[in-house]
């Protein structure tokens, strides 16, 4: 019935658009498919819901055998050969077989639908987005907001990334999570996440986008705390949720300002209205900066980056999907979506670029000294997100989105590869009943000989992220840095002044920081690969017998991502490269996104003196040299043979320790904000205000006053009739006296 209603609603609204009548008419189905998956998996997870392997409420807490037989009987096809030699009794959910089909299935269907829409879009030229309005959502006074989805070139790119990379990660999750007792719950959350992510990228106005924005935050919270029976995981989820609320406050204020000054909140209306505002004025700058606060929260930029490393407490495919490939890039998407606003405010744009650059460098330095393989990748993600913000900050919206796409390929590959490693390490330690840390690189080493496929695929991703041509990361990162450099010559950003600093100077600094971060990126990624896959094995003699390659359901998505990491750069070949080597058509994404961000890019780069081909070549050479130097330096300098396992580790000293401890930012924030907040809450709000004022004065105080009056009243009631008579007579006499003497 809902489907029929949606169909009826959509057929009424979308008329006379190049896309109407085609596959794009099924736009509503795109987010609906994962939602259906969420409902099915959610219902299945309610059936025999359990907390996890350590759930104390489980009756067969230590005797899994009965349930394992049952699960094996129900999903025998899934069981055979998947985890090979694992003869341990498992705790597999009884509906695991159904979930394995539904969970990734809805995503693959969505991806197929997205491809159909993509091919429909390629055939037509469209200058305005294809909008489907379903019903009026909010109408109060001047405010009227429709529940509407829109499809344009930018949304299409994001939809393809979300459903495409999402599908691969869903398939990987089947291998990674199948033995988990919360398996249906996991896929329910994952499907729900994709639903909200699609709402985010398809929303036709800021409030609908905000619904998706909050929804992905919710799913992120749920999945970070997926294994919530351990408090540290639940705390990490709460941290992510709370830090994101700070950013959302900024986003909300930006929306309020937009509505207060423009009266509309849909993208086309805002884009049209913003052009009437004074360029570079206080209002537009305030809107952009508040919006960027939201982006900094969602996309983990300074100062709100602190939640992302902790978010690694969730299952590794979640880190790949939500905390690397899709959700954390929502901030970049939001800025590209609001390109018109940001292009009107050079100060805000420079702020975005500067924060991105500082974050890129800061996170990269921390990544140099991390031992947890997922923490390295987390800080790497923060750093790469910083690059994306440099891109959208300097008005290279295409480059920012391009890096978003390539990053989703190679970072998902890195995370899934790390997931395979952790999976195998964990299984080995599980087999030998060891409680060593399966994520610590000091316990790994030499895994190349046990996991050759994973090793090779992760090396491809490492070369891609480091920026070695012709891998994907090289093109996107180079484009961002080159644009930052070129913008320093005569663009609106260069002529603007940022807190008294000339824009051109700032852009050179940003370029320099970007280049330095590229060097550090190459170093920390090579370090991670060296310590994980090369040198001697430090896992332990007994454990090493159990190390093996990950099952094929986990390596297959890695293959696809590796291919994408290699050829992703072809999506947007720069002119200077195609002139040198005829690799193929240039600027594919650039041309594709032209109707969405072309005018804004032109506005930012107005007056720019285009660098000569020689300069561009020099920039490319510099970028490649830096990346190669980083890899060579790390390869020559780091000696995996000298590493000792974690239990024998001597902590670092001096500045190395400061970096390894992440500059003590968490500790500083704890002292500066968390502890005072606790103290104020406990001593002032709780003991003084709540216990003293509200409970003491107001509740108990009013009771005491009433009791006092009651006591006085009861004293009058002596029960002695004589007194009553006296009072009566005195009253009557007084009344009579009052009347007669008046």
């Amino acid at each position: 019935m809902i489907v029929a209603f949606l169909q009826a609603a959509s057929s009424v609204t979308a008329t006379s658009h190049p896309l109407s009548g085609g596959a794009a008419e099924l736009l509503w189905l795109l987010p609906l498919l994962p939602l259906v998956g969420f409902v099915i998996n959610g219902i299945l997870s309610l059936n025999s819901a359990r907390l996890g392997p350590n759930d104390p409420t489980t009756p067969e807490h230590h005797t899994y055998s009965g349930r394992a037989d049952e699960a094996a009987a129900l999903s025998h096809a899934e069981h055979s050969g998947a985890v090979g030699d694992d003869h341990h009794a498992t705790n597999r959910h009884r509906w695991a077989g159904v979930v394995s089909i539904v969970g990734p299935g809805v995503l693959l269907l969505s991806f197929g639908l997205a491809l159909a829409m993509f091919s429909a879009m390629r055939g037509v030229t469209m200058e305005s987005p294809f909008i489907q309005s379903y019903f009026q959502w909010m109408a109060t006074g001047d405010l009227s907001i429709d529940a509407a989805l829109q499809l344009d070139q930018l949304s299409m790119v994001m939809v393809l990334v979300v459903t495409g990379v999402g599908s691969l990660i869903h398939v990987f999750s089947v291998g990674y999570m199948r033995e988990d007792p919360g398996y249906p719950r996991y896929f329910a959350y994952l499907n729900l996440f994709v639903f909200f992510m699609l709402v985010l990228v398809l929303g036709a106005n800021y409030p609908v986008l905000f619904v998706g924005w909050e929804g992905v935050g919710l799913c992120s919270y749920l999945l970070i705390g997926f294994w919530f029976s351990e408090k540290v995981n639940a705390d990490a989820g709460k941290k992510a949720f709370i830090v994101n609320r700070i950013g959302d406050f900024g986003f909300l204020v930006a929306m309020f300002l937009l509505f207060a000054n423009l009266g509309v909140l849909d993208f086309s209306g805002v884009n049209a209205g913003a052009l009437k505002l004074p360029v570079g004025g206080v209002l537009i700058t305030a809107i952009c900066l508040f919006m960027f606060l939201g982006c900094a929260g969602k996309s983990a930029q300074i100062p709100l980056y602190i939640w992302l490393p902790d978010a690694m407490a969730g299952p590794t495919p979640v880190s790949a999907l939500i905390h690397a490939a899709t959700m954390v890039t929502a901030g970049v998407y939001l800025i590209a979506r609001s390109a018109v606003l940001f292009s009107l405010s050079p100060v805000a744009s420079l702020t975005v670029a500067l924060v991105g650059a500082v974050t890129a460098l800061f996170a990269a330095t921390i990544g140099l000294k991390q031992w947890d393989i997922k923490k390295v990748l987390a800080y790497s993600t923060i750093s790469q997100l910083g690059y994306m913000f440099i891109g959208v900050g300097v008005g290279a919206y295409v480059s920012g989105i391009f890096h978003l796409v390539t990053h989703s390929f190679f970072k998902a590959l890195l995370f899934l590869g790390a997931g395979s490693v952790i999976h195998v390490m964990h299984a080995a330690y599980h087999r030998t009943h060891s409680d060593e840390d399966a994520q610590d690189m000091r316990n790994m080493g030499g895994l190349r000989s046990f996991m050759p496929v994973t090793s090779v695929l992760m090396w491809i991703a490492t070369l891609a992220i480091a920026g070695i041509p012709p891998f994907a990361g090289f093109f996107s990162k180079d484009e961002i840095l080159a644009t930052a450099f070129e913008r320093a010559h005569g663009s609106t950003l260069a002529t603007a002044s940022w807190l008294g600093v000339p824009g051109s100077t700032l852009l050179y600094v940003i370029y320099g920081i970007g280049l330095l971060s590229a060097l550090l990126t190459a170093i920390y990624m090579t370090r991670m690969m060296l310590y994980t896959f090369h040198g001697p094995n430090r896992t332990g003699a007994d454990e090493a017998k159990h190390l093996h390659e990950a099952p094929s359901i986990m390596t297959a998505p890695l293959f696809v991502l590796a291919v994408l990491s290699v050829i992703g750069g072809w999506l947007n070949l720069p002119e200077v490269i195609t002139d040198l080597v005829p690799l193929g058509p240039r600027d594919l994404i650039g041309h594709w996104l032209e109707p969405v961000v072309g005018a804004s890019t032109a506005r930012v780069s107005a007056g720019e003196i285009h660098a000569s081909a020689r300069v561009e070549e020099l920039l490319i050479v510099a970028a490649v040299f830096v990346a190669a130097a980083g890899i060579v330096f790390a390869w020559a300098r780091l000696k995996p043979a000298r590493l000792v396992p974690k239990r024998d580790w001597v902590p670092e000293e001096g500045f190395e320790r400061v970096v390894a401890e992440k500059y003590f930012v968490d500790e500083a924030l704890d002292r500066a904000i968390v502890t005072p907040t606790y103290a104020i809450s406990r001593n002032v709000l709780w003991k003084l205000i709540d216990n003293g004022l509200i409970d003491g004065v107001m509740v108990n105080g009013s009771a005491a006053v009433a009791r006092g009056f009651g006591w006085m009243g009861s004293r009058l009631q002596t029960g002695n009739t004589g007194i009553y008579a006296w009072v009566l007579v005195i009253g009557v006499v007084a009344m009579l006296g009052a009347f007669t003497l008046r």
Binding site: G713, S714, R715, L716, Q717, T718, G719, N720, T721, G722, A725, W726, V729
Partner: protein, 97 residues
């Protein structure tokens, strides 16, 4: 003549009031109440002598009500005495707050 009549009734009424106030015995208080009623009746009669008949109608009413009141009041006093073996109001103070 009216002034003397009213002075007499006022004196009777005051005696009744003082009796109610100073005595502890329920029967005596009761009798004092009756005295007050009688004083009022006398006032009505005196007024009707000078101003016309309606005052006498009220006397009939008051006598009827006071008869009913005497019946109920005495019944209550007997019930209290049966229960507590006293009709001294000083000892009957169940309603003390």
């Amino acid at each position: 003549m009216l002034a003397e009549s009213l002075a007499l009734t006022a004196a009777l009424f005051t005696i009744g009031v003082i009796g109610v106030l100073v005595h502890r015995n329920a029967i005596i208080i009761f009798m004092c109440v009756e005295l007050m009623l009688t004083a009022v009746n006398l006032t009505f009669v005196a007024f009707s002598r000078f101003y016309g008949a309606p005052g006498q109608v009220f006397v009939i009413f008051v006598m009827t009500v006071s008869a009913a009141e005497a019946a109920v009041g005495l019944a209550i006093i007997i019930a209290i005495f049966r229960h507590r073996q006293t009709i001294n109001l000083k000892d009957i103070n169940l309603l003390r707050g």
